[in-house]
Amino acid sequence: MKMKKIMSAALAACMVVGSCGTAVFAEDAYADYAGTTISVAAIETAYGSEMWTQVCEEFTALTGIEVDLITDKNLEDVIGPSMQGGEYPDVIHLATGREAALTEQFIKGNLIADITDVLSMTVPGEEAAVSDKIAGGFTETSLTNPYGDGKTYLAPMFYSPCGLFYNKGLLEEKGWEIPATWDEMWELGDKALEEGIYLFTYPTTGYFDAFFYALMYSAGGAEFFDKATHYEEGIWETEEAKTCFDIVAKLASYTNPITPAQANDQDFTQNQQLVLDNKAIFMPNGTWIVGEMAEAPRADGFEWGMTALPAVADGGDRYSYTWFEQAWIPAGAENVDAAKLFLAFLYSDTACEIFVGSGAVQPVLGIADKLEGDNVMFYSIYDDGAKAAMGNFAAFEAIPGVEIRPVFFDPVNSLVSGDMTEDDWTAGIISASDQMRENLK
């Protein structure tokens, strides 16, 4: 008995000494997290993984919280199996719209922690609150608030304006103007085809999401976009919807015909190459294209250019979709509080500077001053009169055989090859949209 008492006293003493020891390293504000280790899983994209290592090191230096970092190009395959076994990373940086749709599955299953309070948290090491740093609009879209309940579940990360990319040198050489309306676009298409150049190509049909969102905005504004992305009854039979479908169908007839045969995950760079080789003028893409095709051969005088989608009518609005990634905390994470602190840190000046050094641009105010090279031109698209389009299709309960991309965008391949008509395409959308509406979350 006596022995036991001595032992427990000794253990208690050890604990006191131990906690004092770690408290020396961390500032007082983070004393609660002493000895905590969080695991962070981040997708490795064109920006590389080095920036994540640096950000985690800075975070540990500031707060004393250790970070176990996992980065991989196929992050889903690395963290997926252990998550099925109930072991979750504390922070996951993985955008929606990927083929494995892991983030979407977590949204559909209500498996993401509410991070609304992160917005009012002070950025670690700074005075400002997170919400004061994030640029306007980024935390009000369905990409961050998927359930439309005013709560934020996903933190907006690295943004990139999407638009039509082209060879500036080619247009200058031929004396062609950037089309401001779709009518001008078709005129340019006819002119270019006479010289053996097709008007359009696309890497894969997956790139049509950003394109189609911007098109919906320019055809019917924010109200139409909101109704359409919530599958409102009869929305696909309206004039605005018809305009969108007609434009895509007509664009398909102006598309380089070899595009669909290469529009898969293995050969999509061959389609991007068509623009570099002056075999197609425009393609929908994001700012990462410059890095992705940096090593590729190109036509003489090639120079990247980017434009917003043409307006539907003369004098109409032109839109560029703002694509951004998301970071989130799984509801089953062990260290939710420390994870929230990490999310807040991602908007600190230190983190933003590390990210932008690798080309990843955080959606924070004043970031434009830190950009270099082609990015200055790309990110100034909104200063040049284009409006920003944001948001995506609302989440719905999983329905067998019915998904956004196969219903809305994959058929574009068949429109180009002539294996499907516009009417078949829209009929498929209408019937799937009815099911999506019934299963809205």
């Binding site: 299953g109 070899i258 045969a261 290469q262 293995q266 055989g401 196969p406 391949n413 090859s417």
Partner: protein, 294 residues
Amino acid sequence: MKRSRGRSAFLFSCIAPAVILFFIFMILPTLNVFRMSLFEKGAYTPTETFVGLKNFRTLLADANFIRSMQNTILLIVVVTIITFAFALVFAAILTREKIKGQNFFRIVFYIPNILSVVVISGIFSAVYKPENGMLNSIIGLFRDMSDPILWKGEKLVMVSLIIAMVWQAIGYYMVMYMASMSGVPQSLYESASLDGAGRIAQFFQITIPLVWTNIRTTLTFFIISTINMAFLFVKAMTSGGPNHASEVTLSYMYSQKDAGLYGYSMAIGVIIFLFSFALSALVNKVTEREPLEF
């Protein structure tokens, strides 16, 4: 008595590890596939709802699934027939005939089998490239190619998959047939040729009947491996596109899992399991012959 009990205990302890491992890693997961097919569940959701046979009823009305099943059956039938015919003929030539560079040909035919499917897909992607791909360049010598043939386009994508799969599989089956053909006694061929049987008659009258057991085994292999390999080829070569024209059952199952329909994809798994089992049994039954001895 005592000795036999000891012997039984020894035998039991010898086979127990294998049986236990087999049960845990093969039987249990398979049973779980059947169980999960009766539930509705996301891959990451902790909850599951029992839905009975609902997943199967939905499957039968799912046009995408039916198309993927059609593609799978097309591949099983066509790849099997073409590979079987080529492998058998090549094996007969390489064992029976004396040709220069016999070993060289054996190696050349077998090499595709050593390569990973991803490498083969890379090779064939280069061969099928619409512009300056090997195939179109060769055809371009004979006709105008300003309108290139789209090998991975919607109309030809299945043909392109079949060519790649046959190319990959021939060597493996050829080696299997060669092994059993070399066991056929030379004397049978000698006496047959004395009786006036030509090479083709010998092939059909002697070689095929005597390697029949081997052929039956490989037919089962064909069914199972085509289903499996089709998934790898589709994933690495076409991603199921364009517009799902090359989707096969396993790739469709995979995509449904990613869509958050774990139970539904397990139902597809059950269908594939039963289908391949039934087809193998059927083929086995149909090809049953009195075994010939030599």
